[in-house]
Symmetry: C2
Subunit: 344 residues, 2 copies
């Protein structure tokens, strides 16, 4: 693995398209000089932006496309209109065809997942793909999945997610046997819905050697970093993620208003402004941007549609890590080793 | 409604029992001099605490009980051992028998709900009870339900919760026609599970006159205060609530460490300490303590088990408000007026 890592980018995705994607790629390449890019999109727009970025010298191949998926397209509509020819589709197809090790798009999540499923197919042994994110905790970060790929779940799917999430944690955190918890409304055995209780039983009884099953965790364990991997169904996971983001914004707004209310507070703010900057950096959602699609025959990363170049660069970093450390093989190995493969 | 409001208290509930319940009651009574209490529990412990509280003079009647429900009892076990004779059961029974207008307990949630259902019964037209809480937002507060009474839901139950939540919002926020949103993973019509989509259709088509159906809201709308009432299924609602609490704690810990890292930050902290105190007050979960059981033939409020006297007092305040403004009649009226009563 001393070769370069090539990542395909949907340059037209997100609220800002190439004006964020190109500088985002440049930031990521500064951190990883062995990165190269295949950029799909409107060449007339992309080429001058790339030319203006010395950090991208000799690292970009542009492939012109004429169709872009809109942020508000329904997945079915996006597939109908963009299959084969859109920048999003072609970025994914480059992964399928072995031209790139991972694809990154800031486009419409539903469309990206629908196209990824059609183009890459689901991995053998995996029922349905999931979206995993890195959740900032007081101890560092945890892998949390599913944050919105599929609505509704069963025990087998939860177990599959536990294994896939552990594979991702192994790469990102570099730990041999990540701890895994199932998100629930309490930690006692009798709590929760049937899927969660049955998944707990399967994980407890199968004792997979490549992950350490911790038991149930609750919503407040997410920020605490109680386990390396938190597994939950997509509806709940998506709401938990957005609730945490919303709460962070809410407290940020309380803090700003508290610090500007009195002269003393303003003076205090001036003295402590570096500390506030550190806090802002810590709370900056761009730092942990990027949803990893797990369970597909290829690596696809979703960047937030509204991110700036720093945020997009974080998603590219994540794609780089996943490709560099061969996420696909790690997942396959863990599925093979896992007694839970009987459930497939 | 010029008479006194009498509230029954499970004095043995919670991690701290009477040592928090009695002073909590005293704080609430200072704010509402027309409050009186029926306290159930170990008289030998309660009586001296009450005697030591001048704010409770002539306001407390103690009823001795010998059985207390433990915080870790399973609901079935608690009912078996505590039915009829525990402090928790008797506090609820006092509501059923018209001796108190509302009951407050900091005990085991599952046991309190199980006993409340058996003792008070579910309201006519309501399938299953829900737990509602007041969620702090940048605009004030919202009513959020269900935060953990029942796992799993259907469209009819979501609609019932919309009506009950609106009744509570009407009382707490004093608004004629509260706005109601259904918690979902996106705001577009096709998003979400079947129950949520069908509930949206029912609420849109029935156009209940006593609530303004807003549409879907997402996790980040909770802190934003987009609507007066947010309705969701109990599993998701419980996880969202604990995720928000956890995130607030996490940011609090970031802030503390940022403010103690450098001398400049420490000086800044000293200048701004009143602002920080205001922020701490704003983020204090005790301020919004109290889960309201909705859908039962009587008012029962659950206080957090680990709360201090201020937190318990907030739960008593909530019980006072609900009793004073006749929550039961408001819910009945709204159910009668609501075209959704066809679903019952």
């Amino acid at each position: 693995m001393s070769q370069r890592v090539r990542i395909s980018l949907d340059a037209m995705g997100g609220d800002h398209g190439p004006s964020v994607v190109v500088p985002g790629a440049a930031i990521a390449r500064e951190r990883h000089p062995d990165l190269t890019f295949l950029m799909f999109g409107d060449e007339a727009v992309i080429a001058p932006l790339v030319a203006a970025e010395p950090r991208l010298k000799d690292a970009v191949e542009i492939r012109h496309t004429t169709v872009a998926v809109a942020m508000d397209d329904k997945p079915s509509q996006a597939v109908r209109q963009g299959r084969g020819k859109s920048s999003m589709w072609q970025a994914i197809q480059a992964v399928r065809d072995g031209q790139a090790e991972a694809a990154v798009s800031a486009g419409n999540t539903g469309a990206l997942m629908a196209m990824s499923k059609i183009c890459l197919k689901t991995m053998t042994g995996i029922e349905r793909p999931a979206i995993a994110c890195l959740w900032p905790t007081v101890r560092g970060e945890s892998v949390v999945l599913d944050v919105g790929a599929t609505i509704g779940t069963d025990a087998e799917h939860l177990v599959e997610m536990a294994v896939m999430g552990a594979a991702m944690a192994r790469i990102v955190f570099d730990i041999e046997r990540p701890t895994v918890g199932l998100l629930n409304v309490g930690t006692e055995e009798m709590k929760g819905n049937e899927a969660v209780k049955e998944a707990a039983r399967l994980l407890r009884e199968s004792e997979p050697g490549n992950l350490a099953y911790h038991g149930f965790v609750e919503g407040n364990d997410l920020g605490r970093g109680t386990v390396d991997v938190v597994v939950t169904e997509g509806f709940t996971g998506n709401i938990a993620l957005k609730t945490a983001e919303g709460t962070a914004k809410q407290i940020g707004s309380y803090l700003r208003s508290a610090m500007s209310r009195t002269l003393m507070a303003k003076i205090g703010y001036l003295f402590a402004r570096q500390a506030f900057q550190a806090l802002r950096d810590k709370m900056n959602p761009s730092r942990a941007n990027g949803g990893v699609f797990l369970g597909l025959e290829g690596i696809v990363i979703k960047s937030h549609g509204s991110e700036n170049a720093q945020g997009f660069a974080a998603a590219v970093d994540l794609a780089y890590d996943m490709a560099r450390h061969d996420l696909m093989r790690t997942i396959r190995d863990m599925l093979d080793q896992s007694p839970t493969s009987v459930t497939a």
